[in-house]
Symmetry: C2
Subunit: 517 residues, 2 copies
């Protein structure tokens, strides 16, 4: 078995930085029905049937069901107060509760779920209540806007009435801390910013979670982007610090930073190592320092950052190029056919450049020079072996694949000057064969690349097109996955299990607040 | 709506008498399988597969299931400690747990349940666990010996192992208080007594429940018999007192003692009034006084007892006979065709005689004389209108039905001398057309009647035949229903919902300890 690298002092430091959770009681707004509608997003439309206040007048018999719309995406704990009607509850009550972030989740039958991620991510419960009138607070946390309540069993003597129902939401984000945007900003951007902030808020719990429905875990790819948005909004910088110490405190064999962490029952790193994700520890640490000037943390965690460069360099072949293979060694994006080699090479260069900044800040000239030499080699190798002058693109893998991910990351790695980068991205726009982008995570990097080479207008256009598109399709919080051309897209075999409040999708606020306001 | 009669002082007194629950940790004994077997009781046999200690070596994958035998009937709370295997639990775990008092409950599919009592009485749960390794204690109390655990969902990355599993049993009975039986008693009676005591113990919770699986309520018909066994065994007499004050403290319109009470969310009487059950308040009070000599309680609750006589007498017609009808006005036994008139008349007389004893004890000559006059009238009316000299039986209802219930209750009401009673019961034995008995509750009264008229040997024979029969059919605790000639008998349309630990079936200990040891 792999020998994990544990630093208990760092884990204890992380645990001392545990945030307080802010709570808020939220009541449902409407009684609704999820109606199949081919013209609606994913084929489901929500039809209002009445105000939620009318709920307590409604007698529910065995076989009845009611769907509630809480008006916004929530993360929290459900409490239900129920009354028996007609006569005493002479047998337990059995309810089925189905929580949905999206209409499809309360519309479709989970029994027909056929994705390859566990069906247990779908949020439904069978609950039995022995005593009525009674109040039930469910133990588990749910992420939802819609709740379907089905009365599975009563008895021949009684029916029920829902006397009270609410969600106690939880977040470690401090809503009051978010700076107001200037008044002259347009409504669409205001709305995109609002939903971005809400997305981040719902993902901010005891750690920066990737998604509060799924996976509810701390992934470093998400963390890096969440931290950037957080610096511009909530400023909960200690939560970033906590997450950095968690990643540093529990690592994989050989000191690799893991791709994700579990917080419970106690913090531990998952077995997944991803080439790009491990390297992102460096950028996340540097970004944190830039935002906070917390030099003590920078110094303490620098050895972990430097080690990630050493580990990353070990994967270079004799040409100085990242060794490619068929396994899930690097993430970049959820595209099945995407070859990761060129993107990985670019992420290595991108990360070494952040590492060099840290070394410089900490006045470690030897490290700085050592990194600098490797940057030059890696850039040179990329130009020599990955650049296809004929095609005018960076190519990846044996089959010399051209993809958006490869070009975007080469731009972010700044291995060309800005005009060359602009031209590369321009060419990409008109190349129909390049492997496209499938996640907001990848689109974020595209927008970032556009800004990096001075194409601010195009960047804003992309934000309006992509995140504005989600808004038009009904997003309360931004989604893990969104393909404007295939709205039921899921890399998991079912869009029911997609996360519809997903951290890596919250970055428009970062751009809007830094570049567009 | 009915206006209930509440006496808060009495309810408070009852609440001050709340018992302490004794807890005990019980671990499973065997891994087993429920196997269909036409020759076994109700068609299911339990086959041992291994020792429960081997459970923690067993890796359970999605789709696997394991059935555990805890070795005895339990009432309590389940705790499960689970480990993830192979890799981390990267998705919630979903289990189905099915608790069974009997093999049929873990053998048959609840989806096919077709009884008319709510399916919610069947004890199964779907539970989701977000964190592994983890420990889960279920909120609800279960009554079971067998537990089937089905692994409904894991993920492609992990399996599970059951690290620890136990039931924390609860009872308000004090096991240490039960007097030892003399050493010369035979093994069968010892075993019948042991199982009777165990049955009562498992039903003794915050009140005397009828059955810890179903209905988990305080019924006065059960209470009366439980109290009798309790005086001979646990001696938890304050629990009887508590139940008397509960019945007195929350009554139906006009002061009727209800047939049953709910203890939660706060004590309240159910809407059900049964002629015989209301009258049993008197016998239960008198028995309590005889066992405890608690004159204060006898005095305080006497007005309620006297009122039940007044209420009972109101149902007499101009002949002095209980008015018959088709509704569920009197219980006696679970036989669908049983006419209740003659039995009700007998229960009235039986109860008035206990009321007369109380009046005498409390030196209330007016009450005593008043009751005495009514006893004479009711007995006279029974002899005149319900006795069929030709048939040699008491008859009931317009159709002049002959039943065991009518004869047994007339014997218990002592409206004949002992020789006449003996002859009546003898004749009954050889009458094949009389409506028979279906519950241990009715068989208890038959045994009691035999003893009352001096037929102790026959009484013992009945105990060995009936409760001994249950033992041979595998009873750990005695059952709500047992028909030796129809072993899947249920008045509820499915034997899955029968209670297999039922208070009214625990009375052999009363007879064994009073009459046969």
């Amino acid at each position: 078995m792999n020998e994990k690298v544990i630093n208990n002092a760092w884990l204890e430091k992380a645990q001392r930085l545990m945030p307080e959770l802010h709570q808020q009681k939220v009541y449902p707004e409407h009684i609704v029905s999820a109606v199949p509608d081919a013209s609606a997003f994913q084929g489901w439309r929500i039809e209002p049937l009445g105000l939620a206040e009318q709920l307590s007048d409604q007698v529910l018999c065995k076989g009845d069901s009611v769907t509630l719309d809480f008006g916004e995406h929530l993360v929290g704990y459900l409490t239900l107060s129920l009354l028996n009607e007609r006569s005493n509850a002479d047998a337990p009550l059995r309810l089925k509760l189905t929580f949905g972030e999206m209409p499809c989740e309360v519309g479709e039958d989970f029994a027909e779920y056929s994705g390859w991620l566990s069906r247990s991510w779908l949020q439904d419960e069978i609950v039995n209540m022995d005593v009525l009138p009674g109040t039930l607070t469910l133990d588990r946390r749910y992420a939802f806007r819609y709740l379907k309540i089905e009365v599975v069993e009563t008895s021949i003597r009684y029916d029920i009435r829902i006397n009270d129902i609410y969600c106690m939401t939880v977040t470690s984000a401090d809503i009051g801390a978010v700076p107001q945007l200037p008044e002259d900003i347009d409504t669409e951007l205001l709305e995109i910013d609002r939903v971005s902030v809400k997305t981040l808020r719902d993902c901010m719990q005891m750690v920066f979670e990737d998604g509060p429905k799924r996976d509810r875990r701390l992934w470093i790819g998400d963390l890096r982007l969440q931290a950037l948005v957080n610096y511009e909004t909530f400023g909960c910088n200690d939560l970033v610090k906590r997450c950095l110490y968690l990643f540093a405190g529990t690592r994989l064999e050989g000191g690799q930073v893991g791709a994700c962490l579990y917080e419970q029952p106690e913090p531990y790193v998952d077995d997944i190592y991803l080439y790009d994700y491990a390297l992102f520890f460096i950028a996340t640490l540097w970004d944190y320092f830039e935002a906070t000037k917390d030099r003590e943390t920078l110094e303490e965690l620098w050895p972990v950052a430097r080690e990630q460069i050493e580990i990353g360099l070990k994967r270079l072949d004799e040409r100085g190029i990242v060794r490619d293979d068929d396994t899930w060694y690097c993430f970049l994006d959820w595209h099945e056919e995407l070859n990761k080699q060129a993107g990985a090479q670019a992420v290595l260069i991108y990360s070494m450049k952040r590492g060099r900044s840290i070394a410089k800040e900490l006045e470690l000239p030897e490290s700085e020079q050592w990194i600098n030499a490797h940057i030059k080699d890696a850039e040179q190798a990329a130009h020599t072996y990955l650049w296809d002058g004929e095609k005018g693109f960076f190519v990846s893998g044996e089959k010399r694949q051209v993809s958006w991910a490869s070009q975007v990351w080469m731009v972010l790695a700044e291995i060309m000057d800005a005009p060359a980068s602009r031209q590369l991205l321009d060419r990409l726009m008109s190349n129909e064969e390049a492997i496209g982008m499938t996640t907001p995570y990848m689109v974020h990097h595209y927008v970032d690349a556009l800004i990096m080479c001075g194409e601010e207008e195009k960047a804003l256009e992309q934000i309006r097109r992509y995140w504005g598109g989600m808004l038009k399709d009904g997003a309360d919080t931004f989604w893990e996955l969104y393909d404007p051309d295939d709205k039921t897209y899921s890399p998991y075999g079912s869009n029911l299990v997609n996360s519809y409040c997903h951290a890596w999708s919250c970055t428009p606020s970062y751009f809007i607040r830094r570049n567009f306001s």
